[in-house]
Symmetry: C2
């Protein structure tokens, strides 16, 4: 089977390619070829036995989607997007990349379907940003999408397109609403949500981290390893079981900042917790107030999607996958 | 004030222009100019004291939206769309007219806003087709949009765009999800939902009508007069009261086909009811099973939108507005 990953240079895309390399199979079939695409050239996964094609492409550029579909990949993971903050600052770019780019991909597949019956599995990463305050807790599967950002709007629109193109039989789409990925490896970034990761990631290696919100802020998390697991499962499940509602809120861990800190204390001790410096930031607190506290995710769980059991597990996964297994 | 009606040759657009002519004002201001646009030239409303401009334009054609926005109308009613059946048969046309056409309009307004601060009220007619079975009854305001047609998908996408463009301050948008309009005046048509109107409209003038479904089919209705009332109210209400969730399920009358028939009996007698010929049609029954039985519409009612009190009233409105006031 031939797997295409669009957005392969990102953190989740990279880990997905690594996982496919390790597994060697997807949905019970050998992965013989991978095409990895991003706006910057992705790295080839180390040790992959099949053929790898690395491409630099912007999905929103004319002809880019057609070129990617020309090789008729069996499974397409579409992870490419500009992030929430950038889509909010640059309205035109957000719609061009996050909406038009996705629509060009779907259209290219539709035209290939008309040509020769091509009908790939398409796994699309949506986001919990499709919902917006006021929100119940937990958020039921049937809650409406009322995004409060352009990024969330673009993801919600792509979800609708995914369902309609799937209903018409042009491809078999599954949209997965990813929780906030925690602990995101790498350096601190400027994202408003960055502190959820940094208050754990930095103290685990003896560095200070800033906490800009109060301990009672509740949010919805999944480890990078779980996120990759969702993608693999979405490529594997029987779409008939899913029915026409193709977009699923993924399971996760609903935790307050206080819960996160207590998990850190259990695993890395008081010494680590003392490295968290409280610097309340009214702007970030206001933004946070609109975020999802957690989802019911019953449909996804019933369909076999599984997340981390606790925040302790989320921290342990980070230690295993990013810190060589020990502190 | 200058009012632009896009889709002015349609039944609702025509009645809206007539109502504005009769009222002479909108949101407390005199209506001095109307621009009426459609893909076929609309009729000028009889007796309008202000200036009328009639235009033939396809919103999905390059430059059409910019031209309509150039006159900086204060209120824009966007009613133009191809209907559900056509959008289902012609996938490309549906997306071009119903999605791209609307997006071009929104973009033209955004660019005008950037140019000179232009910020009109935009009233967009959405549809109950944004939801799809399985559906609760009544459908709550917070129920997710899971359309089962391309038409419903296109309307749901435009709703999301409307909210985002409004949130960003490019215009003040209100999206109204119209119930099925009943009794639709005119001749029987091929729409699967056509029987809801024809089983009343034809017998009221002594003609036979075909009923293809069973008496217990429940659906969600509003008279043409109510639909126009919704549009006027949407152009009038304080958007601050509405908040960021700009799309509202309109109130209506939830009735079974049996309820409709009993209302007909009360108003026009057994003689009229006997003109309904039962010819069960499995295809239409299957399509009907996915339709909305009725909405809670609490938000819209709290915001002052009002619908017909009963099916008897819906029939009486038809007699007043279409049959000269008596049978």
């Amino acid at each position: 089977m031939h797997v295409l990953i669009i957005g392969a240079a990102g953190m989740v895309g990279r880990k997905l390619a690594e996982r496919l390399t390790k597994d060697g199979t997807l949905a019970g079939r050998a992965v013989e070829a991978m095409t990895l695409v991003d706006v910057v050239t992705p790295d080839a996964p180390v040790g992959f036995a099949g053929s790898v094609t690395l491409e630099t492409a912007d999905l929103s550029a004319p002809g880019a989607a057609e070129k990617l579909v020309a090789g008729r990949p069996d499974v397409i993971f579409h992870l490419a997007a500009i992030v929430s903050g950038e889509a909010e600052l640059d309205f035109e770019k957000g719609y061009r990349i996050n909406l038009d780019g996705t629509r060009y991909l779907f259209e290219a597949i539709r035209l290939a379907h008309i040509e020769d019956g091509y009908r790939p599995r398409v796994v699309f990463t949506s986001s919990i940003a499709v919902v917006g305050a006021p929100l119940p807790f937990p958020i039921p599967d049937e809650f409406h999408t009322t995004p409060l950002t352009s990024y969330g709007t673009q993801k919600a629109i792509c979800e609708l397109l995914l369902s309609d193109y799937s209903r018409k039989g042009f491809f078999d789409g599954i949209g997965i609403r990813l929780p906030t990925i925690c602990i995101r490896p790498g350096k601190p970034n400027k994202a408003a949500s960055g502190f959820f990761s940094s208050i754990l990631r930095e103290p685990l290696v003896g560095q200070e981290a800033v906490l800009p919100v109060s301990d009672d802020v509740r949010h919805w998390h999944a480890s990078p390893r779980s996120a990759v697991g969702f993608l693999i499962h979405a490529a594997t499940i029987d779409v008939e079981q899913v029915g026409p509602r193709r977009n699923l809120s993924m399971p996760g861990v609903s935790a307050t900042v206080g819960d996160q800190i207590e998990a850190l204390r259990r695993i890395a001790g008081d010494k680590a917790v003392k490295l968290i410096r409280r610097e309340p930031d009214e702007t970030i607190m206001r933004i946070c107030a609109g975020w999802a506290p957690g989802f019911d995710a019953k449909r996804a769980r019933d369909l076999g999607f599984t997340a981390d059991a606790s925040f302790d597990e989320i921290i342990r996964i980070h230690i295993e996958d990013e810190l060589g297994g020990s502190l």
